[in-house]
């Protein structure tokens, strides 16, 4: 009934089809497995590198000191680049030479350092040693090891204690430098205008008016970096709120009962500089890379910036007659002040796997010769009492104002963590004409209350 040839062919065809289907299934399974493995491999944490073997003690030699027994790998995170970054890398290399069993991985991140550290805090996965950039107490202390008992703790500069110590006297970072800042000034323009160094806010505004009439930018504002207008608010706040205050404002800020109408004059100062034409026309968009040039080329009289800009000025022109002066105060009876506080500082993650290595590294960085290198690279005074540093052209200015008190940066002590961003945005809005002092103050108040409640 059935043609045997047809039957053989059909059976052959069916077997071939079964074979093909089987092959197809195998290929599909292999491809799927490969895709899944590739995806999972991308998420796999890298194996930690194997620690280098310690230097074995040769027979007949004395027993190695305890530090040589340090073994392990740690991560060192910094936001420093340029000369300061190079110095830190050199020091890490020297530390590893002294401790052959230790490997230190350096992670450098400049613009996104703060965001990155916040993400790491959220994941509770911090670097073993990391730069605290002025926030060791207010922001990072929850994750930092208290360092009050360290051998170098006794030599911490007294000016740092206000901004770095908590109410129990504990501090959480080694600050190799002290951040010292005043109003940067072009002295040749000041002399040309026949003006004295301003002491009060009124003196300051008179100097600005004279500079404007002579065709200079009285205050150069590099508003493209929103830190620039924020510096004015942050650095002038003590003049309006703390300098002649009996402690009422300081207490009110500490307990959250501050009257924010008192902030309006601080913002108004910035508004006045803008409205009176004392700032450069492109105050909202000028870049910070032109700051040093403006001072060196005698185009601007004052700049509210860190003293490190002076180092840049002297790099462009060693003869540049630039310096810094204390911040203007409300009346001649008030005491002048500079801004100071935590400078180039490093803390230790309290949950790190190798606290012994991290503490040894900080002890290494605290050595006088290393502190001196950091100070020279940063152009800032030492954060350790036992280290005297010569900073070149800035020394006469530091010497001139050695009796002037250094108040900590206002936001680091009197405002909750997170307010610096608000200062930046409100300052930027003021100089761009996007907000009035009252509106800017309302934003400050709203965010202050919210962040204060989170503390």
């Amino acid at each position: 009934m059935y043609d045997w040839k047809y039957l053989c062919y059909t059976k052959h065809y069916q077997e071939k089809e079964r074979g093909n289907k089987m092959k197809k299934k195998i290929i599909v399974a292999i491809l799927t497995a490969a895709m899944i493995i590739t995806t999972l491999a991308a998420c796999k944490k890298a194996d930690p590198p194997v620690a280098a073997p310690t230097t074995a003690a040769r027979s007949g030699e004395a027993e190695l000191p305890a530090e040589a027994a340090l073994q392990g790998d740690i991560v060192f995170a910094t936001m420093s680049t340029g000369a300061l970054g190079d110095i830190q890398a050199e020091m890490i290399a020297d530390f590893m030479k002294e401790n052959p069993g230790v490997k230190v991985e350096i992670q450098v991140n400049t613009t996104d350092y703060e965001s990155l550290m916040k993400a790491k805090m959220a994941a509770n996965d911090m670097p073993d040693v990391f730069m605290t950039h002025g926030w060791s107490l207010i922001r990072y202390s929850e994750y930092l090891l208290p360092l009050t008992g360290e051998p170098w703790a006794e030599t911490m500069a007294d000016t740092l204690k206000a901004s770095m110590c908590d109410e129990d006297g504990n501090f959480y970072a080694l600050s190799t430098t002290v951040d010292l800042t005043g109003v940067l000034v072009q002295m040749d323009i000041l002399k040309e205008l026949g003006m004295e160094m301003p002491v009060t806010v009124d003196n300051f505004l008179e100097c600005c008016e004279a500079a404007k009439n002579a065709g200079y930018d009285a205050v150069f504002m590099a508003g493209k970096d929103t830190r620039s207008p924020a510096y004015v608010l942050d650095l002038m706040a003590p003049s309006f709120l703390l300098n002649n205050d009996d402690g009422t404002n300081a207490s009110a800020l500490a307990d959250g009962s501050f009257d924010w109408d008192l902030w309006i004059p601080v913002v108004d100062f910035l508004q006045t500089l803008k409205d009176n034409g004392y700032m450069n026309i492109d105050c909202a968009t000028a870049d910070t890379i032109f700051q040093a040039e403006k001072l060196v080329n005698k185009e601007a009289l004052f700049i509210f910036q860190r003293n490190s800009v002076l180092s840049q000025c002297w790099e462009i022109s060693p003869e540049a007659n630039v310096g810094f002066i204390p911040f203007p105060v409300q009346s001649a009876e008030d005491s002048p002040y500079l801004a100071g506080g935590e400078g180039v500082a490093f803390g230790i993650w309290k949950d790190g796997k190798h606290l012994d290595i991290a503490r040894a590294l900080l002890e290494f960085l605290a050595r006088p010769e290393n502190v001196e290198k950091m100070c020279y690279a940063e152009g800032a005074p030492s954060g350790q009492k036992n280290v005297e540093v010569s900073l070149g052209k800035i020394d006469p200015w530091v010497e001139q104002w050695s009796d002037v008190k250094a108040l900590p940066w206002f936001d680091r002590v009197y405002l909750p963590s997170g307010m610096w961003a608000i200062l930046r945005d409100t300052g930027s809005a003021i100089i761009a004409g996007e907000a009035t002092p009252e509106e800017a103050t309302a934003i400050m108040k709203e965010n202050y209350l919210k962040l204060f409640s989170q503390q």
């Binding site: 289907k21 197809k24 299934k25 599909v28 399974a29 491809l31 799927t32 895709m35 899944i36 995806t39 703060e114 965001s115 550290m117 916040k118 993400a119 790491k120 805090m121 959220a122 509770n124 929850e142 508003g223 493209k224 929103t226 026309i281 492109d282 105050c283 909202a284 968009t285 000028a286 870049d287 032109f290 963590s417 997170g418 961003a421 608000i422 930046r424 945005d425 409100t426 930027s428 809005a429 003021i430 100089i431 761009a432 004409g433 996007e434 907000a435 965010n447 919210k450 962040l451 409640s453 989170q454």
Partner: protein, 298 residues
């Protein structure tokens, strides 16, 4: 036979699921899970880095209604989305019509127009920064040559939004051009020949032949451009950082600023959920409208 067909279908379905399972897993891990976690965080007061937080109900969503920064960001987002899409459509169609003609260096021009789309948006933003700078920017330097005084392009909120929209348009109009070029290639020449015989002018051919036949391409390009414009981040971050003040923030850059700088992850997540719903709604509405238009033209 029926059983054999069912078995075959079951086998095909198994193969289909097996092949798509990695994509589904990736979608769940990198899209759905973050969405659910973000939704959870939006009901808290988490600052983004502490180990503890509290649930505060719909407080973050209530804040959306009164926050001037959020209101400004929505307006800017709509401008970036709609403005960029409109300009990219006009430019894209224009370039496509031009490049559909044979002429020398046609391929070179096509490459040049498309090139910016291949660059990172952050890089594009930084290049534009140097062009719009007040003191040493290219645009002001050229304007000075013609005796026009300098303008601080990014110093004012509205001007900053305009410059960012222009930068985004010129960067991605190349992608629109490619989509429209492909659409133009699909229009039969016989339509134009027939219209020519009937005495139709160039504009009439464009209006009654080119545009209706390009509707599917317009739908695709408009949706893609709109989503890209509404999600704009890199160009804004590098050109203005959302400033001056908060004048040029989009919803994306605002989320970034509020999460990392303002340390308010809860509120940032609430804005993120709103952004997701906002973009999805607009995309669905626009796609339905354009698809209906395309179907009615067929």
């Amino acid at each position: 036979m029926f059983t054999r067909r069912r078995t075959q279908k079951a086998t095909e379905n198994r193969v289909l699921w097996t092949m798509t399972s990695p994509a589904i897993i990736l979608m769940i891990v990198f899209v759905l899970m973050p969405l659910v976690i973000g939704l959870n965080i939006s009901f808290t007061n988490w600052n983004g880095y502490s180990q503890s937080y509290y649930y505060i109900g719909i407080e973050n969503y209530r804040r959306l209604v009164t926050d001037p920064m959020f209101q400004k960001a929505i307006i800017n987002t709509v401008v970036y989305g709609m403005g960029s899409t409109l300009l990219q459509t006009i430019l894209g169609v224009s370039y496509a019509l031009l490049l559909n003609q044979p002429f020398a260096l046609k391929n070179t021009m096509q490459t040049v127009v498309y090139l910016p789309a291949m660059l990172s948006s952050i890089l594009v933003g930084y290049v534009w920064c140097f062009m719009v700078e007040y003191s040493h920017g290219a645009i002001n330097d050229i304007a000075l040559l013609f005796g026009v005084s300098k303008v601080d392009w990014m110093g004012n909120g509205n001007r900053a939004v305009l410059m960012i929209t222009i930068a985004n348009t010129l960067t991605f109009c190349g992608k629109a051009m490619l989509i429209y070029l492909a659409g133009l290639k699909g229009i039969p020449q016989s339509y134009y020949e027939a219209a020519g015989i009937d005495g139709a002018s160039g504009f009439q051919c464009f209006r009654f032949i080119t545009l209706p036949n390009l509707l599917p391409a317009i739908t695709t390009s408009t949706i893609l451009n709109l989503i890209g414009g509404l999600k704009l981040f890199g160009v804004i971050q590098s050109m203005s950082g959302g400033g001056p003040g908060y004048a040029s923030h989009s919803l994306s850059t605002l989320i970034n600023t509020i999460y990392f700088s303002y340390q308010d992850a809860g509120y940032a997540s609430a804005i993120g959920i709103f952004t997701f719903l906002f973009i999805m709604s607009i995309s669905i509405v626009l796609q339905s409208y354009l698809n209906r238009k395309a179907e009615s033209n067929e």
